[in-house]
């Protein structure tokens, strides 16, 4: 089971990032902060997981990145969804709901 866990974890992180970016372009720190806030301080995304994931998804073509200026005037790398990323988000969402429904069914069984 441990391998499945890791894949699931990685897949979950991908899902969270894609969903976050669906709202608009964001830099790495912003993504981590957003997830932390929305999950009510529950989901801490470690930098050690975030950046490798971001670059991997960039290689896979789901997100694209470009350097731009923040409101504070600093230079940061902003990530945004590609059309393929949007499709990937849809399928990930569907998979996630199927997974949770299935887990719930098993847990409901007395």
């Amino acid at each position: 089971m441990p391998r499945a866990n890791r894949d699931t974890l990685q897949g979950t992180l991908d899902l969270l990032v894609l969903k976050t970016l669906a709202r608009g372009p964001l830099h790495g720190y912003g993504i981590a902060t957003h997830i932390l806030q929305i999950s009510q301080d529950f989901l801490h995304v470690e930098e050690g997981s975030l950046y490798p994931a971001l670059h991997r998804m960039e290689e896979d073509g789901w997100i694209q990145a470009e350097w731009a200026a923040t409101e504070a005037g600093r230079r940061a790398r902003f990530y945004s969804l590609t059309p393929e990323g949007r499709r990937q988000l849809e399928s990930e969402l569907e998979r996630w709901s199927k997974l949770t429904r299935a887990v719930q069914l098993v847990l409901n069984q007395a």
Binding site: E46, E47, H55, R74, R75, A76, R77
Partner: protein
């Protein structure tokens, strides 16, 4: 898709990927710090906490980067660059490695190409696996085949066809430039058996292959290309030794056996028809039907054999025919010398590898500190091993390239050293099989060389960071084992070279029975269908003219030159008595020679006189070995012998003289019993004119040639050279093999001495302090030197024990190749052992002297 992009990124310079990630992570860290400041922490504290939460930047950066590239490849590239740099700093090591590996791999590849061509490659004919050779043995002695018997054997249903052949040389008469051409004369459907496709023109008709009709021949592709193409169209008439022959076709270029060039012609009608069962001159091959096995064919042949033995007891009694796969037959001829040479060269390569391994091991020990630092920085053992292995691979690759370059010269050279006419010798070339072998042994070398250092690298620990750490006991022990192993291999090679040298010496020293200096030998090979009257007339005219040449003391002619071999053999009967059973079938050499040949050659007459030229064979001369064999303890002069063979009309001939033996072949195991008759008494179209000259025989070549050609412009003159050169040519192959073995042994010795020197140097460096203390306490420097020389020699002695056993086994294995040397002769072992000890003593002395020169003040102050 992403793998491709990753590959592309890997090949791009690293800077591009690194910078942007650094900047991105820096921004993240800064943003987090600012947030913490906003929450109320001091800037310093905020930064600290942010950094802690961030974790190791370096690892993060690497992991992020790893998403962009193929990590394995990137590590490989980096390690390769590192390996290059570190090797560049050690040119001595690189030079040693490339030289020793290059020579070893080059030599091994060269020897392999010949080995492959002669023993491994299939016969160069289409579907050659169905071909078998029919080897005849008459009363236990190998013999050639007979055409009539061949026809009977071919009835066996297992064969789809059988054929016989022999080779002869004729002169292709082109006005102004006659050249010799080899002709393969065939009996039966030779082309069919060989499965040789005709690419131009047409094959022989059935009548033509039986010898009927006008003379025809089929050309091989090389002969067609060089001599005929463009000059004529098929059918193309040419003049072969005075006979008009039509070339009716050309055979495919892929057919290179039994002849690689020249012409193929059917044998004459008289040879093919008729019921002569006595003459034996054919090589016989057969093609098995699909589905027939060798054993079926052998069983059928045996049945036919026994029937023939009953019907024709005089000619076919006691004749056994063996069916052997043709490929195996050709391979068996060269099996032992092939394996011996290949084994020897692989030994040398192994020694070179062991040497290199020892060198690399020493280097791994030197780099202990560097490895320890790497380990503490987080490199895994695998990364260390990988770095060392890449270094070894680079060295091996360089050595392999050098070896390939060497072999590209070596292969043609070695091919030229092979005896002419050796079947499949034309197959020797540097082709893909040779290249694959070269690559394979390069990789094998890399693995062998890399094992020890890699093992050492994997055992590195942080303890090595201590100041002054040097060779550990285990690595020194391993290197000692290496040197001992090298001693074993070198000793075996030295013994092999000694055996080869002694065999060669015995061969060349064995008495020839003649005085070859100042003698000119001219070879003229008439075809076997020449008329006897023509042959006799040519010889008479030639001798008359040649003896008149200025500078010629005497001129004569005989059937074969000494050491040439290839003379007639027949069993001998004594009319007056019955011979012991073992002698009735034992063949004696039946030689023909003009009476003046003995004095011309300087062959001493031991008793009696030489026959007269007009005695028509009623008088014969025998040699001392013949007298010992057939007339032990008596005087054979005046006795009668009969050489016609059982069943023929006896023709008694009187022995009038005894000469000493004229050596038949370089490797004959025992003296040959010879009977000499006048040239006119037997049919033998092969002529060897011998002229004794008052000065340098080479000066007579031009004049002699023109005399012979003026008698007959189409005379098939094969060669004219001083006798000493002709004899030397017979020793070419054994001399080459001996020289190669000596070269291998010398290389092995040098490498082993280098290894010995190296390990003694390392030991001395390790024991520098101890030596310094001893010297300071008053030890005699001579004793110090003696101690180390002794330890070096004891290493050699330890290696000699298995070495002697190995050499003994080797000499037993190659005993069939030896001449005049017994396998277990102690001199063969004593000589190399002495040489090894002497050289080892010198190699040990040099570093030991350095030990004695150590200044105790310097070493002790080093503390």
């Amino acid at each position: 898709m992403s793998l491709l992009t990753r590959l592309r990124n890997t090949l791009r310079p690293s800077r591009q990927n690194g910078d942007s990630i650094d900047e991105e992570l820096a921004f993240h860290l800064e943003a987090r710090t600012r947030d913490l400041i906003d929450k109320g922490l001091s800037p310093g504290e905020a930064r600290r906490q942010a950094a802690i939460a961030f974790g190791s930047t370096a690892r993060l950066r690497e992991e992020t980067r790893d998403q962009h590239v193929v990590p394995v490849l990137e590590d490989l590239f980096r390690d390769t660059r590192l390996a290059f740099r570190s090797l560049r700093r050690r040119p001595g090591l690189v030079l040693t490695a490339v030289l020793s590996l290059g020579i070893g791999i080059g030599a091994a590849t060269t020897v392999y190409s010949v080995f492959d061509a002669l023993l491994l490659k299939p016969i160069p004919l289409p579907r050659s696996e169905r071909l078998v050779f029919l080897r005849e043995r008459v009363k236990g002695q190998n013999s050639s085949g007979n055409p009539t018997r061949l026809r009977d054997l071919g009835q066996a249903p297992a064969f789809s066809a059988v054929a016989g052949f022999y080779g002869e040389s004729r002169i292709h008469v082109v006005p102004g430039a006659p050249t010799q051409v080899d002709v393969l004369v065939g009996i039966g459907n030779l082309l069919g058996v060989l499965n040789a496709p005709i690419v131009k023109g047409r094959p022989f008709t059935r009548d033509e292959s039986l010898g009927l009709g006008a003379p025809v021949a089929i050309s091989t592709m090389p002969f067609w290309r060089t001599k005929l193409e463009g000059n004529c169209t098929l059918p193309c008439p040419i003049n072969l030794s005075g006979v008009d022959v039509q070339i009716i076709g050309v055979v495919d270029a892929a057919v290179r056996y039994p002849l690689a060039g020249g012409l193929i012609a059917p044998a004459s009608l008289s040879d093919q028809s008729g019921n002569n069962r006595r003459a034996r001159f054919l090589q016989m091959i057969g093609r098995l039907r699909d589905g027939a096995t060798d054993s079926e064919a052998q069983a059928q042949i045996d049945t036919i054999s026994s029937t023939l033995a009953r019907q024709y007891p005089l000619t076919d009694g006691g004749v056994a025919t063996h069916v052997i796969q043709l490929a195996k037959f050709e391979a068996d001829r060269n099996r032992e010398s092939g394996y011996a040479t290949l084994g020897a060269v692989l030994f040398v390569l192994l020694i070179a590898c062991v040497n290199l391994s020892g060198l690399l091991l020493a280097r791994a020990v030197e780099r202990q500190r560097e490895s320890a630092v790497r380990l503490s920085l987080g490199a895994g053992t695998g990364a260390l091993v990988r770095l060392y292995l890449i270094e070894v691979l680079l060295l091996a690759f360089a050595g392999g390239l050098a070896g390939l370059a060497l072999a590209s010269f070596g292969v043609p050279w070695l091919a030229s050293m092979l005896p002419e006419g050796l079947p499949k010798a034309t197959e020797v070339e540097f082709d893909s099989r040779t290249a694959i072998f070269s690559i394979a042994i390069t990789l094998a070398c890399a693995i062998i060389c890399g094992l020890a250092p890699a093992w050492r690298a994997s055992r590195c620990t942080n303890i090595a960071l201590r100041e002054g750490a040097t060779a550990s006991a285990s690595s020194l022990l391993l290197r000692r084992v290496f040197v001992a192993a090298q001693v074993v291999l070198t000793f075996v090679l030295l013994c092999g070279a000694t055996l080869a040298g002694r065999s060669l010496l015995a061969m060349t020293r064995a008495p020839l029975g003649i005085e070859p200096r100042q003698v000119l030998a001219i070879n003229v090979n008439f075809p076997w269908d020449s008329k006897k009257a023509d042959l006799d007339r040519f010889e008479r005219d030639a001798l008359a003219r040649l003896s008149m040449l200025p500078g010629v003391i005497s001129a004569s002619v005989m059937d074969r030159l000494p050491l040439e071999g290839g003379a007639q053999t027949r069993p001998v009967q004594l009319p007056a008595r019955t011979l012991p059973a073992d002698l009735t079938a034992r063949p004696a050499s039946i030689r023909t020679a003009h009476p003046a040949a003995f004095s011309t050659l300087g062959a001493p007459i031991l008793a009696g006189r030489i026959y007269r030229d007009d005695s028509a064979g009623r008088e014969v001369v025998v040699n001392d070995a013949f007298a010992r064999r057939y007339f032990p303890g008596e005087n054979p002069i005046g006795r009668l012998i009969d050489i016609e063979g059982k069943g023929s009309t006896p023709k008694p001939r009187e022995i009038v003289g005894i000469v000493s033996e004229i050596r038949e072949t370089p490797t004959q195991a025992e003296p040959a019993a010879q009977v000499f008759l006048p040239r006119t008494a037997e049919y033998w179209p092969i002529m060897r004119f011998v002229l004794r000259s008052s000065g340098d025989p080479a000066a007579l070549v031009g004049a002699a040639r023109s005399e012979l050609l003026s008698i007959d412009p189409a005379a098939p003159l094969a060669s004219a050279q001083p006798m000493t050169e002709a004899l030397g040519a017979e020793f070419k192959l054994p001399a080459t093999l001996s020289a190669m073995m000596a070269a291998f042994a010398a290389t092995a010795l040098l490498l082993t001495l280098i290894g010995l020197y190296g390990i003694l140097s390392s030991i001395i460096v390790q024991r520098t302090r101890e030596i310094g203390i001893r010297l300071a306490l008053g030890a005699d420097p001579v004793h110090v030197v003696a101690r180390f020389v002794r330890s070096g020699l004891s290493l050699v002695a330890i290696g000699l024990i298995p070495g002697i056993a190995g050499a003994f086994m080797m000499s037993r294995a190659v005993s069939s190749l030896l001449y005049g040397v017994a396998p277990a002769d102690p001199v063969t072992f004593a000589l190399p052992a002495t040489l090894l000890f002497l050289c080892a003593a010198v190699a040990a002395y040099i570093p030991s002297r350095r030990a004695a020169a150590i200044d105790p003040n310097i070493t002790l102050r080093h503390e």
